[in-house]
């Protein structure tokens, strides 16, 4: 039914009203759904370890520690200083291994290689291993993200 001066029929008006209402209702559901399926994730700013657990490491050896849900790798250099890395390959995220005899990091997933300072030297990785900052404040060993003061 359409009144003489009306722009719509009654059916068109109701369709528009209900259609708009349902669309608007659905749209308000999308935000919470998306929010829900992407969990908040933050990697740690720093982790605090016990220095005594790492003090006795032989020069040239490495030890793992948990960096959030990733493995961290602490390496003792020959001169007794420490270097820390996030132990995941910059290619496609596999956990890397350190081969002390060759002084190299190795990723078994696609044969990626890094030297003892974490620089990518072979295979698919396009970036060096991520470094972390090591701070010794006995009895603590503090490992920080590079961008955290």
């Amino acid at each position: 039914m359409k009144l003489k001066h009306s722009l719509f029929t009654r059916r068109q008006f109701l369709n528009g009203l209900f259609g708009g209402w349902i669309t608007a209702l659905l749209a308000t559901f999308i935000y919470p759904v998306v929010k829900f399926i992407f969990p908040a994730y933050r990697e740690p700013d720093e982790v605090i370890l016990l220095f005594s657990d790492f003090e006795g490491m032989a020069p040239g050896s490495v030890k793992r520690f948990p960096w959030g849900s990733k493995p961290g790798i602490l390496k003792k250099n020959d001169d007794g200083t420490y270097l820390a890395f996030v132990g995941v390959c910059t290619h496609l995220d596999c956990n890397v291994a350190y081969l002390p005899e060759q002084k190299k990091f190795f990723c078994a997933c696609h044969d990626g290689w890094y030297d003892e300072y974490g620089t990518n030297i072979g295979g698919p990785p396009a970036h060096p291993l991520r470094r972390l900052v090591v701070e010794i404040a006995a009895p603590d060993l503090i490992i920080k993200r590079e961008d955290v003061e």
């Binding site: 992407f38 948990p66 849900s69 990733k70 291994a97 990723c107 078994a108």
Partner: protein, 356 residues
């Protein structure tokens, strides 16, 4: 009451009206020609899919989708649960068979051009079915939660990251966070046993409906010459033939499953280095090898991004193939058929290479 089955069926038909369907299937013609053998691949896929559903429902009774319990629950299925090892083995092998037949099905339709008008949407729903099958395989592979499956999943879920703009979000969505963790396991479990089954049933319904609606295609040359192709009725003639195929396939499947049960490594350790020989399932090997041979940098861009973009474009090309191949009898159509052969050869060479 002597003839009660007949009476019951009449009683039921009064209520459901299913005789229209049986009548339709009796009349549905199945063409007989030199490519008819490929018509059996579709129902072979359905056979393996049904086996997946049944064995999957059984495995779910014992499987525990958590970080601490997953690996041990699979070990228990393999060692303690009566006949558990056969059920797991059949589920694992039948997935391989199903995906293999989906590939064969797809390529046979590509090469015979059965996707041509008016079967474009049948093909497109089929491409989605292929995607669903691959996601089934990918999510299922993580569930035993051993060293190899963890690393393979880390790599697989990290690949989308090299897609510009949305990539990082996709990776996060798949993993349920920044890394592969227990949350990823739970998420993959939910996808594998709940979300995907619903989707694949919907897609199958569309696919099978369209096949009935549009009927079976006849070969391109017969169609252009307007020839009559001999046919047999779908029911019972064609179905009986399919049953023979199913019987043989089930025999092969169970023999292989009993002789070669799948292995189970030690529980995945999120902190341990990736083990040697990380490989995805066989149906991803050609993609895996493609990624591996791309250099880290091509000019100034990341090699992986280039590789992933090429793969995405190839996927889109395959999806829209019936629309792109709009002149099947002409030169363009021949080139597209040739591309199908190239794809098969490429996939075979890459897969074999990745195993060397």
């Amino acid at each position: 009451m002597k003839n009660w089955p007949k009476e019951l069926s009449i009683w039921l038909d009064d209520r459901f009206g299913l005789s229209a369907i049986t009548q339709f299937l009796k009349e549905k013609p199945v063409p007989q020609h030199k490519h008819s053998i490929w018509l059996y691949t579709g129902s072979a896929i359905l056979l393996f899919f049904v086996i997946q559903v049944v064995t999957g429902f059984m495995l779910i009774l014992y499987y525990k989708p958590t970080l601490d319990a997953a690996n041990a629950s699979v070990a228990r299925i393999m060692t303690e649960v009566p006949l558990g090892w056969i059920i797991r083995s059949v589920h694992s092998w039948s997935s391989t068979f199903m995906i293999a037949f989906v590939f064969i099905h797809l390529i046979s339709i590509w090469l015979t051009k059965s996707y041509r008008k008016p079967r474009e949407i049948t093909w497109m729903s089929g491409v989605f079915l292929l995607a669903c099958s691959l996601v089934f395989g990918f999510t299922g592979y993580l569930l035993p939660w051993d060293d190899l499956s963890l690393s393979a999943t880390k790599v697989g879920t990290d690949i989308p990251r090299s897609i510009p703009v949305v990539g990082a979000w996709v990776t996060k969505l798949l993993r349920g966070g920044g890394d592969v963790t227990g949350d990823t396991l739970t998420r993959f479990f939910g996808i594998h046993v709940c979300i995907l089954p619903i989707f694949i049933f919907l897609l199958l319904a569309i696919h099978v409906y369209l096949i009935q609606k549009k009927g079976m295609s006849i070969p391109l040359d017969a169609e252009t010459r307007n020839e009559d192709v001999p046919t047999i009725p779908f029911w019972p003639n064609f179905v009986y033939r399919e049953m023979v195929v199913w019987l043989v396939l089930v025999g092969i499947l169970f023999s292989i499953a009993i002789v070669f049960p799948p292995s189970l490594d030690k529980q995945a350790d999120l902190m341990a280095a990736a083990p040697e020989g990380v490989k995805p399932e066989w149906y991803f090997l050609f993609l895996f090898q493609t990624l591996k041979i791309f250099p880290a940098k091509i000019l100034f861009v990341n090699g992986d991004s280039v590789a992933v973009l090429i793969m995405l474009l190839a996927g889109l090309f395959i999806f829209f193939l019936p629309v792109i191949d709009n002149k099947p009898t002409e030169r363009k159509g021949k080139i597209i058929t040739a591309l199908g052969y190239v794809l098969v050869v490429y996939a075979l060479i890459m897969s074999v290479w990745s195993l060397l």
